[in-house]
C-alpha cells in the first residue's frame, strides 16, 4: 500500500505539464476551439509521435507502452489543466478503452496498433436524443440506435447525439440495440469506420467550445460480421465498464482544471488591490480559496484512488476485490470532481470580479468546461444516487 507517485510517474507528470503548458496556452486554445474540427491536427500528430500519450495504456503486444491507468490519469489531469483541444479523450478513453474492454483479438490488433501509430482517431457513439430525458439519463435507456442481423453481418439505424468528436473521428465504437429490446437487453457494440456508406455526421456547436460534439445518423448502414464486439445482444456490461473508465478519465481532467482555476485565482488575488489592500488579504476571500484548495486535495485522492482501481480492473491479473470497486470508485471520482470543478470555476469567476466576466480573461473557458463535463455522463447527484443504490438497495432486493 503506497499512495504516492513513483519517480517514473512524477517524470511523466512533469513532462506532460511542461509540454501542454507550451502547446496549449490560452491563445492556442482560443484559436482551435473556434474551428469546426475543434483540434489542431499538427499538434495531435506531435502528441502521438513525440509524447506517445495515446499509447500509454495500450499493451506492449499492440505496440503500446503497457502502462496503467494511473499514468493515464496523470496525463489527463494536465490536459484538463490546459484545456487541451484534441481527440485524445475520444480516441483513448472512449475508443481505446472500448477496444480494450470489448474488442476481439482481431479488432484490438488492427485498431489499437493504428491508434498507437497516430493514424487513427476514435470515439464511442452510444446515446440517442433520449439521453436528455429526465435532465440527463445516461443509462441503458439512452441506447436507441438499432441493429439487426443480416446474412453478411449487421444493419445499423438510428441517430446518435452528444458524441464527443463524433463528426471527426475515424473509428466509431457504436452501441445499438436489437429492435424491440429494452433496458440492458439486446445491446451490442460494433467497430464502425466512420466513412461507411449511410453515415451522416455533423457538428453540434456547444457552449463549452473546448470539446466538440457531433451527431451521427445511421441510415441502413451495413456492417461486416467481424464488426461485432463480443457476443451479440450482451454488450451492456462492457459498455458500462467503458463508461466507468470514461468517468475516471473525465474526473482526472476535472481535477486538473479545478487546480488551474485555483492557481489563476490566487495569482489574481495577490495582484488585485481594492481599498488599498490586495484582495488576497480579505479573510472571506482567503476562506473561499481555502475551500477550493480543500476540494482539489480531496478530488486528487478521488481521482488517483479510482485510477488505481481502474488499473486493477483492466489488468487480467489484477486484485479482484479492488477491481470490483470500479463502479463505485468511478462514481465517486466523477461526482466529487464534477462538483469540485463547478464550485471552483464559479468561485474563480467571483474572485476575478468584473474582468472574469469578459471574453478576454480565461476563467470563463473553465467555467463552461465545468458545466459541460459535470453534465456529461451524469452530474454529482446522479453519481451519488448510483452509489446509494450500491449501498442501500441490495438488501431491499434480497
Amino acid at each position: 500500500m503506497k499512495f504516492r507517485f513513483t519517480d517514473e510517474q512524477n517524470m511523466i507528470r512533469e513532462t506532460a505539464a511542461g509540454f501542454l503548458q507550451d502547446v496549449s496556452g490560452p491563445a492556442a486554445v482560443r484559436e482551435v476551439m473556434a474551428t469546426e474540427s475543434g483540434y489542431d491536427r499538427a499538434l495531435w500528430r506531435r502528441i502521438c509521435e513525440e509524447l506517445c500519450f495515446q499509447a500509454i495504456t495500450v499493451p506492449e503486444e499492440y505496440g503500446g507502452m503497457g502502462l496503467g491507468y494511473v499514468e493515464l490519469a496523470i496525463v489527463l489531469e494536465q490536459m484538463g489543466r490546459n484545456l487541451l483541444c484534441s481527440p485524445f479523450f475520444g480516441t483513448v478513453c472512449l475508443g481505446g478503452n472500448g477496444l480494450l474492454v470489448a474488442g476481439t483479438e482481431q479488432q484490438k490488433a488492427r485498431y489499437l496498433s493504428e491508434i498507437v501509430a497516430g493514424e487513427l482517431t476514435a470515439t464511442m457513439a452510444w446515446t440517442g436524443p433520449e439521453a436528455a430525458h429526465g435532465g440527463g439519463e445516461w443509462g441503458a435507456e439512452a441506447v436507441t440506435a438499432t441493429w439487426e442481423k443480416t446474412s453478411e453481418g449487421y444493419l445499423l439505424n438510428g441517430t446518435l447525439r452528444y458524441v464527443i468528436n463524433g463528426h471527426t473521428a475515424d473509428l466509431l465504437i457504436v452501441a445499438a440495440r436489437e429492435a424491440g429490446t429494452r433496458g440492458k437487453d439486446g445491446v451490442s457494440l460494433f467497430t464502425v469506420p466512420a466513412d461507411l456508406a449511410g453515415i451522416q455526421r455533423s457538428w453540434l456547436p456547444t457552449m463549452d467550445q473546448t470539446r466538440h460534439l457531433g451527431e451521427v445518423v445511421f441510415s441502413e448502414v451495413s456492417l461486416s460480421a467481424d464488426s461485432l464486439m463480443g457476443e451479440a445482444g450482451k454488450g451492456w456490461p462492457s459498455l458500462e465498464k467503458i463508461l466507468d473508465l470514461a468517468k475516471v478519465a473525465i474526473a482526472a481532467e476535472q481535477l486538473g482544471a479545478a487546480q488551474q482555476v485555483l492557481d489563476m485565482s490566487v495569482q489574481y488575488m495577490q495582484e488585485r488591490v481594492q481599498f488599498g489592500r490586495t484582495i488576497s488579504s480579505y479573510q472571506a476571500l482567503k476562506h473561499k480559496a481555502a475551500d477550493m484548495k480543500l476540494k482539489c486535495e480531496v478530488a486528487y485522492s478521488a481521482v488517483y484512488y479510482a485510477a488505481c482501481v481502474a488499473l486493477e480492473s483492466l489488468d487480467p491479473d489484477g486484485d479482484p476485490a479492488i477491481a470490483a470497486q470500479l463502479r463505485e470508485a468511478a462514481a465517486m471520482a466523477k461526482g466529487y470532481c464534477s462538483d469540485t470543478l463547478f464550485f471552483n470555476a464559479g468561485c474563480a469567476l467571483q474572485l476575478h470580479g468584473g474582468v472574469g466576466f469578459t471574453w478576454e480573461y480565461d476563467v470563463h473557458l473553465y467555467f463552461k468546461r465545468a458545466k459541460a463535463s459535470e453534465l456529461y455522463l451524469g452530474n454529482g447527484a446522479a453519481q451519488r444516487e448510483l452509489i446509494a443504490g450500491l449501498l442501500l438497495d441490495e438488501e431491499f432486493r434480497t
Partner: protein
C-alpha cells in the same frame, strides 16, 4: 398587514394591462420578453421607438412627481405598473438609467435650470442616459475614482476611463463621477457631471463578455466637455450616494416578474423532458419558487417602509438575496436541460436564452456590490460590527 389590493388599485391594474395589450403589437410584438439582462444589446432602434410609445401613453417616469412630467403614482400603483409591464413581456427599458437614476438625481440635487433642461427628454423617451461610474481600479472600491475633471476656459473637461457602462453607444448623455480636486483621495474632492455623448473626446469601446455579446462598454473621455455639474465641485460623492439609494426602487418588482418568466420556462422544460421527476431537480425548483415568492414579500416590506421614510432591514439583504437566487436559477436551467444544455443555437456562438441566463447571472453577484461587499454592509450597518480596515 394584508395581501389584498384595493379596488382602485385593481382598476389601475386593468388599465395598464389593457394599454399594454393594445400597444405591444405590430412592430413592437417582436420585442416581447427581449432586451433584459444579457439581451440588452438587441433591437435598440425598435426599443427606442417603444420608449416614445410609452411616453405617448404617459407610461414613462410613472413614480416621478407630476410637476416634472411624471404620473405621481403611489407605491402600490407603481408596484402594479412594473408587475404588469413585466407580466406582459414588455421589453427591457432603454430609458431606465435616465428614469431611475439620472432623473431622480437631478430632481433631488439639480438646479431648476438643470431640471428644465434634462427632465423633459427623459419623460419623452427621446434622450437616453448611461452611467459613468465604475473604473478599472474602482470595482468594489467605488470611491477610488481616477477620472479627472478640470476647469479649462470656464468649462469642465473630463479626462479618464469608465468601464461597465451599459448602452453607452446608444446613449445621448452620461453622468460621470470625476475628481475635481487633484490629489484628493477616496470620496473627497469628487464632482458629479452631466456629459453629452455626442462630442469629440468621447470614445466608446464595447467589452466582449463571456457570452460573446457586448452590453457593456469602456468609455474613454479625452477632454470631453461636461455641460453641467450637479451639486458643488467636491461634493459629488454625496450626490452619487443619493443615486445609489434610487437603485432599490419599485422597479425591483418588475425584475421579479422577469425572474418569474424565467422560472416558468424552466418548469415547462422540466415537465417536458421529465426532469420534473428527478428528486434533486424537484427540490431545487421548489427552492427557486420559494425564494422568488419570499423575494416578493421582502420587496414589499422594503417598499412599505421606504414609503413612510423608514428604513427596513429587508433592504440591507435584498441585493444579496436576489443575486444569489438568480445565479442559482441559471445553473438550475442547465441541469434541467441535461446534455441539451450544451448545444447552442448556432455557430459561431449563438446562445439560447437559458444559456445566456446561466452565464449572465454570474455577473449578478458582482456588479452593484459583490456578494462579499453586501455581506460586509449587512454585518457593519445591520449588525454593528467593525468595518474592514482599509490599506491606505
Amino acid at each position: 398587514m394584508k395581501l389584498t389590493f384595493s379596488p382602485e388599485d385593481e382598476a389601475f391594474r386593468n388599465q395598464i394591462a389593457g394599454w399594454l395589450r393594445n400597444n405591444l403589437v405590430g412592430e413592437f410584438a417582436e420585442l416581447k420578453f427581449r432586451g433584459g439582462p444579457g439581451d440588452e444589446h438587441m433591437f435598440p432602434e425598435e426599443r427606442k421607438r417603444w420608449e416614445q410609445k410609452l411616453a405617448e401613453g404617459g407610461w414613462t417616469c410613472v413614480g416621478w412627481p407630476e410637476a416634472y412630467g411624471g404620473r405621481g403614482l403611489s407605491i402600490e400603483q407603481q408596484v402594479i405598473f412594473f408587475e404588469e409591464y413585466a407580466r406582459a413581456g414588455a421589453p427591457g427599458r432603454m430609458g431606465h438609467i435616465g428614469e431611475g437614476l439620472a432623473g431622480p438625481t437631478i430632481i433631488a440635487f439639480g438646479s431648476e435650470a438643470q431640471k428644465e433642461k434634462y427632465l423633459p427628454g427623459i419623460v419623452a423617451g427621446t434622450e437616453l442616459w448611461c452611467q459613468g461610474y465604475s473604473e478599472p481600479n474602482a470595482g468594489s472600491d467605488l470611491a477610488n475614482v481616477q477620472t479627472r475633471a478640470s476647469l479649462e476656459d470656464g468649462k469642465w473637461r473630463i479626462h479618464g476611463q469608465k468601464v461597465w457602462t451599459s448602452l453607452a453607444h446608444e446613449s445621448d448623455w452620461c453622468f460621470v463621477i470625476a475628481r475635481t480636486e487633484p490629489g484628493s483621495k477616496a470620496h473627497k474632492g469628487l464632482g458629479f457631471f452631466l456629459v453629452s455623448m455626442h462630442q469629440p473626446g468621447v470614445t466608446v469601446r464595447p467589452i466582449e463578455q463571456l457570452t460573446g455579446t457586448s452590453e457593456f462598454n469602456e468609455v474613454f473621455f479625452d477632454g470631453a466637455v461636461a455641460e453641467d455639474i450637479v451639486g458643488a465641485p467636491g461634493e459629488g460623492w454625496a450626490v452619487a450616494m443619493g443615486l445609489l439609494g434610487f437603485e432599490r426602487g419599485v422597479s425591483t418588482l418588475g425584475q421579479q416578474m422577469q425572474f418569474q418568466n424565467e422560472l416558468d420556462e424552466i418548469i415547462r422544460l422540466a415537465r417536458a423532458n421529465g426532469a420534473a421527476r428527478n428528486p434533486g431537480i424537484r427540490q431545487r425548483i421548489a427552492e427557486a419558487h420559494t425564494g422568488l415568492r419570499l423575494m416578493r414579500y421582502n420587496a414589499m416590506r422594503m417598499l412599505s417602509s421606504s414609503q413612510d421614510g423608514q428604513a427596513d432591514s429587508s433592504a440591507l439583504v435584498y441585493k444579496l438575496h436576489w443575486a444569489s437566487w438568480h445565479r442559482n436559477l441559471g445553473a438550475l436551467a442547465m441541469d434541467v436541460l441535461g446534455p441539451e444544455a450544451e448545444l447552442i443555437d448556432d455557430a459561431p456562438y449563438e446562445l439560447s436564452r437559458l444559456q445566456s441566463l446561466f452565464l449572465f447571472t454570474r455577473s449578478d453577484t458582482i456588479y452593484g456590490g459583490t456578494n462579499q461587499i453586501q455581506r460586509n454592509i449587512i454585518a457593519e450597518r445591520g449588525l454593528g460590527m467593525p468595518k474592514e480596515p482599509k490599506g491606505r
